[in-house]
C-alpha cells in the first residue's frame, strides 16, 4: 500500500484507465476541471474501545437538564449483547428538543426558550449499575417533521462501545404518547409492531425505561442518519 493514495470521488476520474479515458466528451485526467463538487474525504470512525471513560466522562454528563429542575424525568435502560448479557462498558448519548419542541441551535427555528438549564444533551456510561444507563432530562415536545406535520416526542440516541467500530443510532419514543406515535412517519415506516416496540419506552417510577438490544430476537431498530 502506498502511504498516501489520492482519493478521487468522481467516478469519471476514479474509473479512468487506458481503455476508457479517451472517449469523446469524457473529462480527461489532468484536464484541470472538476466535474463534481469538491469534497474532502471524511475521517473514518473507530471504536471507543474499553477505556472510553477516561476521555468521555463529565460529572454532569447524565444531566440533560440541571438537577432539581421541576418536571425532570430519568430515562433508564440496560444494554444487552447477542448472548443476552449486559454490556457493562457502553456509553449512551442523547439529544432532544425541549418540552416545547425547540432546539438551542443556530439552524433551528428561533424563539422563546422557557427551560433554563436545559442542555438537551446527555451522556451516560453503563458501568454502575452494570449495563444500565440513566439520563436526567425533560420530556421532549413534538418537533416539526419538515412536511407540515409533527413528529412524536422522541430522543435521538447514540450507542458507543468496545466492539462497535462506529456508533449505532436509535430513538426513544414514549408509550404514553400513543396518538402522536400513531402519526409519526418514522415509526410508521418500520416494518411491524415488534420493530416499533423496540423504540418505545414505558413509564417507570421516576421516568421511562427502555432497554437496548444490540442483537437478538428483539434487536433494537437502529437507524442510518
Amino acid at each position: 500500500m502506498t502511504a498516501h493514495q489520492i482519493d478521487h470521488l468522481s467516478p469519471q476520474v476514479r474509473n479512468a484507465n487506458e481503455t476508457n479515458d479517451r472517449r469523446p466528451g469524457t473529462p480527461r485526467r489532468g484536464s484541470g476541471f472538476l466535474d463534481e463538487p469538491f469534497q474532502l474525504g471524511l475521517t473514518p470512525s473507530a471504536t471507543v474501545g474499553p477505556y472510553l471513560s477516561i476521555g468521555l466522562t463529565w460529572a454532569d454528563g447524565p444531566h440533560a437538564v440541571a438537577e432539581g429542575t421541576e418536571g425532570a424525568i430519568w430515562l433508564r435502560g440496560r444494554v444487552f449483547d447477542g448472548n443476552g448479557d449486559l454490556v457493562p462498558d457502553a456509553m449512551i448519548e442523547t439529544w432532544q428538543a425541549d418540552p416545547d419542541g425547540r432546539f438551542d441551535h443556530p439552524d433551528a427555528p428561533q424563539g422563546e426558550r422557557r427551560y433554563p438549564g436545559f442542555r438537551g444533551f446527555g451522556r451516560s456510561h453503563t458501568v454502575e449499575p452494570a449495563g444500565e444507563y440513566g439520563i436526567l432530562t425533560l420530556k421532549p415536545g413534538r418537533v416539526d417533521d419538515g412536511k407540515g406535520g409533527l413528529q412524536a416526542p422522541h430522543v435521538d440516541v447514540s450507542v458507543f462501545a468496545r466492539g462497535l467500530l462506529d456508533r449505532v443510532v436509535t430513538r426513544i419514543y414514549f408509550a404514553d404518547e400513543a396518538d402522536a406515535n400513531a402519526e409519526d412517519d418514522v415509526l410508521a415506516a418500520l416494518p411491524d409492531d415488534a420493530s416499533r416496540r423496540t423504540l418505545i419506552a414505558r413509564p417507570s417510577d421516576d421516568g421511562y425505561v427502555l432497554d437496548i438490544h444490540l442483537q437478538g430476537d428483539d434487536e433494537t431498530v437502529f437507524f442510518a442518519v
Partner: protein
C-alpha cells in the same frame, strides 16, 4: 455556550424550514460497525440493516458544548498531578473541517490515550506495564475560530489486547468530536505514520483501504519545538452539507 456559525443564519419561520442536509459517505469508504477480525464485534454489532432516518431538526442540530468545559491546562497532558509525564513529548495539531472544506470553529475535541508504556489509567487495564503518576491520558481542547486545535502530550505506547495471539494495538490517540449536528458526531483514533503494527491490527484494517491514510497523522518538522517536542499534524474531516438541495431556480448552467 458558544455559537459561532460558519454560515449565514437560517430563516426563523417554523414553516418551510430550510435545513442543511449532511452528506453520507458511501459504505465502501466508511468504517463498518462490525469486522470479522475484531472479535468483540461478533456479539455487539447489530445484525440487521439499519433503517434510513430522514434528517430533520433533531438530526441537523446538536449539542454546543463550550469553553466553560475546558481549561488551558486540559490541552497539556504532560503536566498532571504536580509533575511531568514520562515519554517523548509531542504536539498534536490540525484543523477540524467539514467535507466542504469549511472549518468547524468553537467545537469541543476530547482525547484520551495510553501512557508512554502503553498502559491506560483505567481499572480495566491490567497488563503489566507501569502507570505514570503524572499522566492520566485525558485532554480537552476547543477549536478556534478557524477550526484549529492543538494539544501537547507524550507519544503513546503500543499495547497488547488479546484479540488474537500476540495482538498489539498500534500506537494511537482516541478522539471524540461533536461538530455542530447530531449527524456529524465522530469518535475515532489517530495513528502515527509508519507504524509496523498496522498490518496485524483489525481495528485499523476495518477501515476501507482508500480511507486508512486519513486516520494517520503526518510528522511535521516545521512544527517541532527545538529542544522540546516533536509534532504531528492531523486534520479531521466531519460530514459536510449538500450545498444545492433546494436551489431549483438555477438551471445549473454555470459555464
Amino acid at each position: 455556550m458558544t455559537g459561532t456559525t460558519s454560515r449565514a443564519p437560517r430563516p426563523a419561520a417554523d414553516s418551510a424550514l430550510e435545513l442543511p442536509r449532511y452528506l453520507r459517505e458511501s459504505d465502501d469508504r466508511r468504517t463498518p460497525v462490525a469486522y470479522a477480525g475484531y472479535r468483540s464485534t461478533a456479539l455487539r454489532a447489530p445484525l440487521r440493516t439499519p433503517v434510513d432516518l430522514p434528517q430533520r431538526l433533531t438530526e441537523v442540530t446538536g449539542p454546543v458544548l463550550g469553553e466553560d468545559r475546558v481549561t488551558a491546562a486540559d490541552a497539556d497532558l504532560t503536566l498532571r498531578m504536580g509533575g511531568e509525564a514520562q515519554g517523548q513529548r509531542i504536539n498534536v495539531f490540525g484543523r477540524v473541517l467539514d467535507s466542504d472544506g469549511r472549518p468547524v470553529p468553537d467545537t469541543l475535541v476530547e482525547v484520551w490515550q495510553a501512557n508512554a508504556a502503553g498502559r491506560y489509567r483505567h481499572v480495566g487495564d491490567n497488563w503489566p506495564a507501569p502507570l505514570d503518576p503524572h499522566f492520566d491520558g485525558l485532554g480537552r481542547v476547543m477549536t478556534d475560530s478557524l477550526g484549529r486545535y492543538e494539544f501537547t502530550t507524550i507519544q503513546p505506547g503500543a499495547y497488547p489486547w488479546g484479540n488474537h495471539h500476540n495482538a498489539w494495538r498500534p500506537a494511537h490517540i482516541h478522539f471524540s468530536l461533536f461538530g455542530r449536528a447530531f449527524t456529524q458526531r465522530l469518535v475515532t483514533q489517530m495513528y502515527f505514520p509508519g507504524d509496523p503494527l498496522f498490518w496485524q491490527d483489525p481495528i485499523f484494517n476495518a477501515i476501507p483501504p482508500s480511507a486508512r491514510h486519513r486516520a494517520i497523522a503526518t510528522f511535521d518538522l516545521d512544527r517541532t519545538q527545538d529542544n522540546w517536542a516533536l509534532a504531528f499534524h492531523w486534520d479531521i474531516v466531519l460530514r459536510g452539507t449538500d450545498q444545492t438541495p433546494f436551489e431549483t431556480d438555477d438551471d445549473g448552467d454555470v459555464a
